[in-house]
Amino acid sequence: MPKDSGFRRLDEAGAATVALEFEGSVLMARSGDTVAAAMLAAGHFSGRNTPVSGAPRGPFCMMGTCFDCLVEIDGEPNIQACMIAVVEGTKVRRMKGARPLPANPLPNGEPSED
């Protein structure tokens, strides 16, 4: 995927770096970033394709109200990237359409509720 230049940092020394994984590649973020901010800093402006038409979408409001920044985080689909703080090793993948259904039964054999 073509890498456009992303958001750049105000010259700030001393901020700790955090390594994430985005679509299988390493992405360097700063401590205090949200996943959305980290993606934008790395030039990834789109985190998903919509289930309705497949159109590309990305962060829009950055305050948790528009739901356009949905991505898969650590295997969990449809998480708002702008609401999650980066943590070392966070694995981010784009959402391509509707969320998939995990396999049945769940791998760790969770008991059903009543």
Partner: protein, 378 residues
């Protein structure tokens, strides 16, 4: 002057209007809000014969025949899909209940309810919890789009000459020589025939005729999820739980089953109740654990009228000549819509109908008046 005044522009009122118009009469529908505003437009859209009260089965079977050719009747397929309806059993005891019921239905002469085992169930619904031991299935049942259905009936009725007035709540009904005078929405109308299809307000209208049956106003709740990759074809219920579960083409999943919110019919308000929604969510997660992380995007409640025995009031007035009732469908009127209008038209035009409607008499509630017992609506 119209030939018949129909109070209520939901599916049953519009169905009556359509069938009367087809017979060349001029019906007038008086709807207090807009057609499909209430139960008819916001229900789960289930089109089923499965699990009906025995009294309803002959009507439901005939209605299903009409659904399979609905485009010929209203010029629109109403989004009807023949995806099947399934009611799962999680235990052997539940499966036995379903078997017994299917046998009874067969004795009555109907074969639409089929029992399947675990293997066939998992073939049809691969995502269901492997705890389930079997199910009852009606393969030719399905689902439709309620609002689209209402609009189609309305459109066709108008094409055939029906007059439909929105924003016209009935304020006054008076018996005049040979007919009825109705005041609604600031205007006065007269007709020789009156039809009460006022849904949750049906008992209120019947009361104006001096024959109000017991009717409880419920607010059944529904929830809908974010889009999920396709995993469910038929509409799903469960013998041991309140559940109606369906996945739309856009991937969203509709969750119903009759948990009740809070109704304020006078204000057209129906609010959800968290306890009931929680129970609904717990039911889904028990049967489909893989949906645990799926998000509910909206929840809402409709306004529905429920009778003590859970079957509708359908048939002629007992208090007056020239008046007929069609209301109280107790959460499951949608599928019956196409046939109830035909029955009302039969009664108006010929005085009789070939379908057995004695169980739906408006004056059948002496047992209720004695015991005060309400049957759990399904």
């Amino acid at each position: 002057m119209p030939d018949a005044i129909i109070i209520g522009g939901g599916l049953h009122g519009l169905s009556a209007a359509l069938h009367l118009a087809r017979a060349g009469l001029k019906p007038l529908v008086l709807e207090k809000d807009y057609p499909g505003r209430h139960a008819s437009g916001v229900n789960a859209g289930g089109v089923r014969r499965l699990g009906r009260d025995f009294a309803e089965i002959p009507l439901s079977v005939e209605a299903m025949r009409l659904w399979h050719g609905i485009a010929d009747i209203v010029g629109d397929d109403c989004g009807f899909i023949r995806c099947g309806q399934v009611k799962v059993a999680e235990t052997e005891a539940e499966l036995q209940i379903l078997r017994d019921r299917a046998a009874q239905v067969a004795v009555l002469g109907f074969d639409h309810e089929e029992i399947i085992g675990r293997e066939e169930l998992l073939r049809i619904v691969p995502a269901i919890s492997e705890r389930c031991v079997g199910a009852m299935i009606c393969r030719a049942d399905g689902a439709a789009n309620p609002f689209r259905t209402v609009m189609a009936f309305r459109r066709r009725a108008v094409e055939l000459g029906a007059d439909i007035r929105s924003g016209s709540p009935v304020a006054h009904i008076e018996r005049r020589a040979g007919g009825w005078s109705v005041e609604a929405g600031g205007a006065r109308f007269q007709a020789s025939v009156l039809v009460n299809a006022a849904g949750a307000w049906g008992s209120q209208i019947a009361g104006l005729l001096g024959e109000a049956p017991p009717l409880r106003i419920d607010a059944p709740m529904l929830m809908i999820t974010e889009p999920v990759a396709p995993f469910l074809t038929p509409v799903l219920g469960a013998e041991g739980r309140k559940l109606s579960f369906k996945q739309f083409e856009n991937g969203t999943v509709l969750i119903g089953g009759g948990h009740r919110g809070k109704a304020e019919p006078g204000l057209n308000l129906a609010d959800t109740r968290l306890g009931g929604l929680r129970q609904s969510a717990a039911t889904v997660v028990a049967l489909f654990p893989q949906l645990r992380a799926t998000r509910i995007v909206r929840a809402w409640a409709g306004i529905e009228g429920v009778t003590p025995d859970g079957i509708p009031v359908l048939g002629p007035s007992v208090a007056s000549e020239g008046a007929y009732h069609s209301f109280g469908y107790s959460y499951h009127g949608f599928q019956l819509g196409p046939v109830t209008g035909r029955i009302i038209a039969d009664l108006i035009l010929h005085g009789v109908t070939d379908l057995p409607i004695a169980p739906f008499r408006i004056d059948r509630f002496s047992e209720f008046h004695r015991t005060g017992a309400w049957r759990e609506p399904a």
